[in-house]
Amino acid sequence: MSEAEVKMVLPENAFEKLPEDEKNNEFIAMKSRSYFQDVWFQYKKNKLAMVSLVFIIIMILMAIFMPMFSRYSYEAQDLANPNALPSAAHWFGTDKFGRDIFIRIMYGARISLSVGFAAAAINLVIGIVWGGMCGYIGGRFDMILMRIVDIIYSVPTLLYVILIMLIFGSNMFSVLLAICISSWVGLARQVRAQVMSQKEQEYALAAKVLGASDMRILFRHLVKNSIGPIIVNTTLMVPSAIFTEAFLSFVGIGISIPMASWGTMANEAKNMLFSAPLQMVWPVSAICLTMLALNFIGDGLNQALDPKKRSR
């Protein structure tokens, strides 16, 4: 290469200034997706959780609409046609009073699902408020309120249940009360731990420096940031409440007959276990499938909400 080539002179106008907006050497790191969009994207990857979700949605729709359009009701007896096997008229057959089992399962779904979701909602509210305040305020206040939680936790649930049933009788209200009275403590503990670890984070301090009220910091910032574990915990509370209701009704201290709950249906079917075993199969499968599906949904959410548990 000769000297002349190296000394090539560049024309003055060979370079021009970059436009202002291209100078920025920092760049957007990731595609825009909100938190819940992201969670849904992750959730969809889990086949079992998706199937379970569809199952539960269909179940909810049927529980709401089937009884409206059916010619049978849960209590109408047809003594001429007891213990019938499944047929076109009675899809799941009839029980010993000739009542249509399919429609009774649908009514049972109404009870089970509403008990499950109501219990979860009540627990959600109490757990967040109690745990959130303990974690945020801390100190002596926290100490006292958490000791109360410990005491509630240490008394066996069955004891509450029996006491409540004695006082309020066997009905939907006492079942709900019995389920809710102690099951919120787990959530409260979890929320408290989350809030405690989050409140020293700089974004929470920033909110305080900006003049945000304690309520705002606690609910808009701290609880909102603990939403993942809260959702998972609440979702898993639904099947456990459904099971408790079914169990109480099965042993005869829950929902009382002739109301159709899966628990009472299983109870009635147990006398016919050998002559008409199918009658036991329906309510038990309903309970099992629903609980399984709800647990799968909980697991799916758990995975989708916690980046560390994601399988890629």
């Binding site: 920092e26 790191a29 825009s32 700089e202 974004y203 909110a207 420096v209 900006l210 003049g211 009220s213």
Partner: protein, 325 residues
């Protein structure tokens, strides 16, 4: 110039009780111990010191995140110790903070727009959401971000961009004073200068005062009018930025300066590096006498027994026995 300081800190002490368990011996961290300084309007006070010397604690005490055990903080001539209700809210509007960690200081569940709007909602600055939105766009422009960033989440931004969002949030309430707690030490070197320039421009345009915290003197030299050097909760030297940087008095400042790498090898050779030996003593059991005596190359018998009091030497403050007569 006989201007009044906008912020005046006197004999401030912030301690933390770190006693473990109910029956063990009481343990106190003296994170900030007897610190005094003034910040003038439109000026920047640079605060430097090694990690753990109490810079963040001092800054957070000033913005009222921590309560001091002793001493006073006066802001615009008013003691802030017992502010309540509307007065406290007014103080929170005038006094803002930019945080050290750009990843932890933005709520990951809120969009950039929500983050910057929140202070306006808290302080009822605008009536309609449209007005607030307009202001957010303006703030984004001021800090060098684009209007369409408004609906994005913090996770989508780089560290430097997040720090800009933090700055926009602090500016949203039109503060008079901002405590900048190591706003650039978590950033890439190439981006540090950009953020410093941004802060300087904002200061000029809006007439702000800063308390600018850093652990490295070279970072604060350009932006600061005055510099204070902290060691183990104490202010050991304080003076005009030029003076402290070019003619350090305190042995600790000298050591800090010698740790700064110098690009010119000739100058670097001439200026020998003073190595700080030993660990920083724990603020739970600070050494008797001068806090720096365990590592000071010039320590004498007296230094281990007697705490040096701050004295004035040539228009600045230094706390060291060497300068007493």
């Amino acid at each position: 110039m006989s201007e009044k300081p906008i912020l005046s800190v006197r004999n401030l002490k912030t301690y933390f009780d770190v006693t473990k368990g109910l029956f063990s011996k009481k343990q106190i961290v003296k994170a900030v111990d007897d610190v005094s300084f003034d910040v003038m309007p439109n000026e920047t006070f640079g605060l430097v010191g090694e990690s753990g010397c109490g810079k963040t604690t001092l800054g957070r005490t000033i913005v009222k995140l921590y309560d001091p055990v002793e001493g006073s903080i006066e802001f615009m001539g008013k003691d802030i110790a017992n502010l309540k209700g509307a007065e406290l809210k007014a103080y929170r509007k005038d006094m803002q903070m930019i945080f050290q960690d750009p990843y932890a200081s933005l709520n990951p569940r809120m969009t950039v727009g929500e983050i910057i709007k929140e202070p306006m909602i808290i302080h009822n600055i605008y009536n309609t959401d449209a007005e607030r939105e307009e202001r957010v766009v303006e703030l984004l422009r001021i800090v060098g971000l684009k209007p369409d960033h408004i609906r994005r989440y913090p996770a989508e931004f780089s560290g430097g961009q997040r720090q800009r969002i933090g700055i926009a949030r602090a500016l949203a309430v039109n503060p008079k004073f901002i405590v900048c707690d190591e706003p650039i030490s978590a950033l890439d070197v190439s981006i540090q200068a950009q953020v410093i320039n941004l802060l300087e421009n904002i200061q000029k345009e809006m007439g702000l005062s800063y308390l600018f915290i850093a652990h490295d003197l070279s970072m604060v030299k350009h932006i600061s009018d005055k510099i204070g050097v902290m060691y183990l909760g104490h202010m050991v030297e304080m003076g005009k930025s030029e003076d402290v940087y070019h003619r350090p008095l305190h042995p600790y400042t000298t050591a800090l300066l010698s740790a700064i790498p110098i690009p010119d090898p000739d100058v670097a050779k001439a200026k020998s590096r003073i190595l700080l030996e030993g660990e920083i003593p724990s603020p739970i059991n600070p050494p008797a006498g001068c806090p720096f005596s365990t590592r000071c190359p010039k320590a004498t018998e007296r230094c281990h027994k007697e705490m040096p009091q701050p004295i004035e030497v040539g228009g600045r403050m230094v706390a060291c026995h060497l300068y007493e007569r």
